[in-house]
Symmetry: C2
Subunit: 339 residues, 2 copies
């Protein structure tokens, strides 16, 4: 392993000078700089990470993370991903502060304020789609605090990147799965989360666009459950009663457990294919019980880990980072036997 010391010795200058050259600081004559660069390249110099880490220990970057509350267990896994990567990055001077807040613009606003008070250098957020929140985000971005959206994006916010799933595609995948797992005539009921949530309506579009092309399918009912299990229970009960012909159900978002309870009760004796998203514990339970046929997952741990990594890299060396606007999670289909 070549070290700075070694390069200094071979090029006949001091370690300080080598450091200046290698880190593009000024105050070095072009002549010596050139010599040092040549030698460094010859030896294939790579900075030693442990050395860098040790020298940079004084917590350079604090990153604020804002996701939804503990009531939504999906984010448990996202946070696991954050924390796993945070531990790794800790010795490069990365610290995180995690806020889980209610699904409300106000709650998000004050979480953002709290982050600013703590002096964060960047914010990773699952934004509520509300103009006030979006304006606030653009405001802090203008102040020089970069923002990354995770799991759900926000339109017109100048975030440096979005990390999460491609919702239209995941809806289309659900549609394709429904095609593969059914035959003959299929009457579909769709249970949305909330039409005002960008990502939910994209899934709906992907699913419906896919099945529209196929004469086997009829979408006979579409309802919103507002991600609420109780509401979901009522809606699905009602739906199954009003439409005895329904033999396929698609849940675009949360409220899966309540809906499945309804299927257990009102769907007795009917053979209904049920496709959902994500694998929170209650969904796994319903997969086990045979109520859910398949669920499409979006690697929540990866979303947390990747977004933190991106933010940290962006903060520590923005110039040598080419960042894309979108980082899409892999989709992962699970059935009872692969859960």
């Amino acid at each position: 392993m070549t070290t700075i010391k070694e390069i200094a010795r071979l090029s006949g200058v001091s370690r300080g000078t080598v450091d200046r050259v290698l880190n593009n600081r000024d105050g070095v004559s072009e002549e010596t700089a050139e010599r040092v660069r040549t030698i460094a390249k010859q030896l294939g110099y790579k900075p030693n990470k442990a050395g860098v880490a040790l020298a940079a220990q004084k917590n350079k970057y604090l990153i604020g993370i804002i996701v939804f509350s503990r009531k939504n267990p999906f984010f448990d896994k996202v946070i696991e991903g954050f924390l796993e990567r945070a531990e790794e990055l800790a010795f490069f001077g990365c610290e995180v502060t995690v806020k889980r807040v209610a699904y409300h613009p106000e709650a998000q606003m004050s979480a953002i304020e709290a982050c600013l008070d703590e002096g964060v250098h960047g914010i990773i957020i699952t934004p509520y789609n509300d103009t006030k929140v979006c304006d606030k985000l653009n405001e802090i971005i203008d102040k020089g605090i970069p923002v990354i959206t995770v799991n759900s994006d926000a339109e017109n916010v100048r975030r440096i990147a979005y990390v999460g799933s491609d919702y239209y595609n995941s809806g289309a995948a659900a549609g394709a799965l429904m095609q593969l797992m059914t035959h003959d005539k299929v009457n579909i009921g769709v249970i949305l989360g909330d039409r005002n949530i960008l990502c939910h309506s994209k899934r709906e579009a992907g699913f419906i666009d896919r099945l529209c092309e196929d004469a086997r399918f009829d979408i006979v009912s579409v309802k919103e459950n507002y991600d609420d299990d109780l509401k979901s229970y009522d809606i699905v009960s009602e739906m199954l009663k009003t439409h005895p012909e329904i033999n396929g159900l698609y849940f675009t978002a949360a409220g899966v457990y309540g809906g499945c309870k309804a299927i257990q009760e009102s769907g007795i004796g009917r053979d209904i294919r049920v496709i959902t998203h994500d694998d929170v514990p209650t969904t796994i339970d319903m997969l086990d019980k045979g109520i859910i046929t398949a669920t499409i997952c979006q690697d929540p741990m990866w979303q947390g880990a990747r977004s933190l990594e991106l933010m940290f890299n962006y903060l520590s060396s923005p110039e040598e980072m080419q960042i894309r606007g979108y980082y899409y999670a892999e989709l992962n289909i699970k059935i009872r036997e692969t859960k």
Copy 2:
């Protein structure tokens, strides 16, 4: 962050003594040791990784990795996993030497020898199931060199762990998927890799056990392709000709591309569900073309990363490691829309 220095100051001893206590070296009076331990626990001391790394830089552990040759692209991803984790562990003194060898006992034997010559401290291997290889492995294990099997296990080898997929389960999952994606009467053809490979026959068993319970299914033909694309092409062509009733195919292992070529030619006009394993580029291609219905993946990158991590932890602190015998990969179903 509490440091050794801090603990030393508070307990009124030197850093050296604290180090001795915390690392269970002897030469410290029980009295002071106890005091230091108490204070360390109070402060919640955690060794600083960057510090440990820097001090331990002199490549303590060399780990040999032996997997199958470049002809089998599945292992490309496994190796990616190895290298990714290797880079992380590099600054804790982990070095790896990777050998990709032919699917032969002799090739494996000499790869093992080569590793020993290089002075490896542990070996991670996808073993060929052959008594000579197994004996050799037990021999080096007796010499004190731990072995971990990855992707495929070996019976009667005293390896510390197996990291890979649960083949019986993945076969059963393939069976379940076949059930979900078909209706009415289904006549199945099964294309095995090689019956002598433990994992292949386990998949076969899982698949068949699953479908035996279901009167809808008949297994009408089972053939071996010895993981060879040309042989696979011939077998599938023949199979489709002899059994015009076949409408479901299951490939337990490699040779998928050759088999799919045969389906493209001999299966014209027939609606055949095809289920395979893994997502090597040629398989993705056939998924795209609509020949393969679904493929069940086994997270090859994870297999590489996890096995290396296990081995390194075992080497660096065997006493404080409780190791399980089996580490199973998550299964991940892919269809064209989620590839």
